[in-house]
Structure formats: structure tokens, C-alpha cells
Subunit: 230 residues, 2 copies
DNA sequence: CTCGGTATGATAGTAACACTATCATAAACG
DNA sequence: CGTTTATGATAGTGTTACTATCATACCGAG
């Protein structure tokens, strides 16, 4: 339950039960729901996405899908949480034997900005599409009138857990830095926003001709964070 | 039409014509639309907000409101743009005779984090409510599948203009800093996000007991930006 | 004072959306 | 073998996001 040493073994991601009505990872329909909703949301955007459309796509029915999630908003929170949990796992996996905290933080930044390299084997999910959803739609998960309720129900646990993990490293690098949590949440948000801007509002970024957006964002964030910590 | 030297004179904020179908600042109904939509969106949130509800509230009709804005998304973009334009004006007004660029940037940060102190006289709009809308909903203005179209139509001009203005000061402080635009857009986004987190997801921030959220966010951002520029 | 445009209101209608309920059925499990 | 359990099929409801049409009230020009 703790570790899965074999590549082939399915990585079991445990999420807050209150995110769903029925666990989509337990059943065939649930897994199709997840895999296809990721593709569909990526294609048409979250506002255009409906359970009806998804049902047609996976040749199921609206009613069946509503048995898994109360509504599409909960599904979004679920998908995003799943991504954060997966990212936490990736980070743990790639940094657990790196003793230098600065080096560990750099590795985390790398993983954050290259979040799409989800090994396809992990689940049947399209990692690149899920990453695009996180970039484009993740903010909508908490920018609602229900934030406080949702938060109390623990729906943002995975995000907060990830942030706390990174903040710990920040404090390890510089224990006197007064804003580790703010720095980390700014970091997490900025990663996505800058990638979004690079694609859609380039005047808000500094895109270098010869570099990819990810590399530029990484360089910017590395510079920002380590200067803040000195 | 160009300048209004008297305090009592209504500040005329010129926005991209493509933001609206009919200029809401020109008519009585338009101004009521603006003022009341701000209050209503603030109260119930953008997803719950409908033209129908607003029409009932201002004792008009749905059809009449649709003559001003294509849909509620355009209205949101308009309101947010209005805020950015107003903020640009505030910044120009308060910094035009400050020679030191570092001091100017600090003033800008102050104005950004205290954006709610909209002098009520400016329009009939509720400045505090509009600021809350900017914090809670502004991201939704561009996080859509239509970003590129909307951007091409110039709907985000005010935001980009504001960012460019601040970026110029950043470059004035340190002309060799390689990421002025990224720093500024990160700054603008982080301001809102951190205020949101302080209110709803405090574990993502470092809230000091004796300080207000605005002061803490200001201190954090000032530290972050000036360290980045040294 | 009349004429013509302009802003608004009143009313109606439509397609899609966001569900909820009920009943049938087939597989899985004990 | 009987009973849960998951799914499908179908129907229905209230709301949303518009669009269309027509009436009316006002306002400025001739």
C-alpha cells in the first residue's frame, strides 16, 4: 500500500472520499469516465463540457455518470486532485535520495514545469491532456462561492499537502525566510499561469526565441525563488 | 473629453468598444447595470449570476441587458477591464511626480494591494465589491477556450497595458533583469491569489497575527520583487 | 408640432443544461 | 440460488442563455 516497486504495478492514488460519490478508480466505467473526461475537457474546455456529451462519447448515460460525481465541478476537483497527488508521488520518487535541499527544490521545480511527462502507463489517462487541464482549469476548482465548504470537506487536501511538502524544503534551505508558504503557493500558481500566458498572452511573458516556454518558466522561477531565499 | 481637472468631474474611463454592444457608461440603465451587477456578482458569485436575476434586481428586463453585453462573460471582462483601467489611472496619479523608480514600484505595490480604496465618488460603483470580484473572478475572464479570439479582439488590453507600465519601472530599476514581464504578471496574479488564499485557504499563506492580510501580502511581494531585482 | 430615430419594456419562445426519479436487467458474489 | 450492485433506458423538471417581435415613450431636427 505504501510503495509500488514494480513499474507495471498500478499506482494507487488515494483521494478524499468526499470528492466522489462512487470511486471511479474501482470500476471499468469509472476509469473510462476519468480517461475520456480528461480528453473531452481538454478538447472543448470545462464550460462547454457536460455529462451528457461525455455519456455519448463513452456510450453510457448521463444518469450513470451522475452516480460517480455530484456534478462536473466535483469531477474537475477530482481530476485536479488526482494530478496533485500524482505530482507529489513523482516528487517523492525523484527526490527522496537527494540530500541537498537546494538541489531537491530545483528538482521539484523541474518536475513542476514538466508536469506533462506523466508516464502513460500510470493509468490509462492522457498525461499531457491532464496537465493542460491543470494549467487551464485548475483555478476554477477553488474560485467558487463554495470554497470554504469545499475546503472544510477536505477537497483541496492534495494541493495543500503538495504545497506543504515544498514549503518544508524552502524552510530547510533558509529557516529564517518569513514567507515559505506564500512563496510556494505563488510558485505553484505562477508555474501554471506563466505557461498559460506563454501560450495565449505572450506579452505578459519574456519568451526567448531559442528556448521552450517550459525552460524559460523554469529559469524564471529558479531565479525568483533562490534570490528570495538568500 | 481628454482631461478632467476637477475632482468632481466624472472620471471618464475609455474602454475597448468591442467589450460591449452598447456603452453602459452612456445611459442611465447602463450605469445601473454596472453598479448593480458588481453588487450582485459579489454577493452570489459569477456562476450563480444571471442577466435574469440582475434584470429583476434593477427592475428592467433580460432583453434590455442583452443590448449592452453579449453575455455575462463579456460583462465580467468589461468590469475587470474597468478596474484595471481605473487602477492604471490611480497609479499614474499617485506616482507621476515620484522620481525614484524603486519608490515608484513600492507605491504601485501599495496601490495594488489596497485596490479596494476606490474613491466612491469615481463612479456610482462599489469599489470594495469590485475589488472582491477582481480577486475572486478575474481569472475567469481569460481562462476560456476563447482566450485567443478575445485577446485578438483586444479585450485584455487594459490588463496588458497595466502590466507593461509596471514592467517599464522594473526595467528602470534593473535594466539587466531578464524577466521583467514574467515578474510583473506573476506579481499581479500573486496579489489577488494571496489575498484569496488568506481569506479561504490560509494554510497556503503566512498570516501574521497582528497584521492584516494586505500588509502581509505587501511585505511578501516587496521582499520578493526587490530581491529578484538585486 | 410633427416626424423619425433611439432606448426600453413586455412577452414569448427555443434549445440546451443540470439535474432527479423510476424501472428494467445483467453480472457478480455469497 | 437468491440477492446485492452496477449499469442502462427513459422520462421529466426547472433553469439558463439566449433571440425575436412588437409596443411605447422620449428626444431632437426640421
Amino acid at each position: 500500500m505504501e510503495t509500488h516497486p514494480f513499474a507495471n504495478t498500478h499506482l494507487r492514488i488515494e483521494l478524499n472520499e468526499r470528492l466522489y460519490l462512487r470511486d471511479p478508480q474501482q470500476t471499468d466505467l469509472g476509469r473510462r469516465l476519468m480517461a475520456e473526461s480528461i480528453k473531452l475537457i481538454d478538447e472543448i474546455g470545462f464550460e462547454q463540457f457536460t455529462f451528457k456529451r461525455l455519456a455519448i462519447r463513452i456510450e453510457s448515460t448521463e444518469a450513470s455518470l451522475y452516480r460517480y460525481f455530484e456534478n462536473k465541478h466535483r469531477l474537475l476537483v477530482y481530476l485536479v486532485s488526482w494530478y496533485w497527488a500524482w505530482l507529489s508521488y513523482q516528487i517523492r520518487f525523484h527526490t527522496h535520495n537527494v540530500p541537498n535541499p537546494a538541489e531537491r527544490l530545483r528538482l521539484m521545480l523541474r518536475i513542476l514545469t514538466r508536469g506533462h511527462q506523466c508516464d502513460a502507463a500510470t493509468m490509462q489517462v492522457d498525461g499531457a491532456a491532464l496537465y493542460r487541464i491543470v494549467v487551464n482549469e485548475a483555478s476554477k476548482a477553488y474560485l467558487t462561492k463554495d470554497v470554504d465548504q469545499d475546503n472544510q470537506a477536505g477537497l483541496f487536501r492534495e494541493y495543500k499537502r503538495l504545497a506543504a511538502g515544498i514549503a518544508a524544503v524552502v524552510s530547510e534551505i533558509n529557516p529564517t525566510y518569513p514567507y515559505p508558504h506564500m512563496l510556494v503557493s505563488t510558485l505553484l500558481e505562477a508555474t501554471r499561469k506563466q505557461l498559460f500566458f506563454a501560450q495565449h498572452l505572450p506579452s505578459l511573458t519574456n519568451s526567448a526565441e531559442q528556448k521552450t516556454a517550459e525552460e524559460t518558466v523554469y529559469a524564471f522561477l529558479e531565479n525568483l525563488v533562490f534570490k528570495a531565499l538568500t
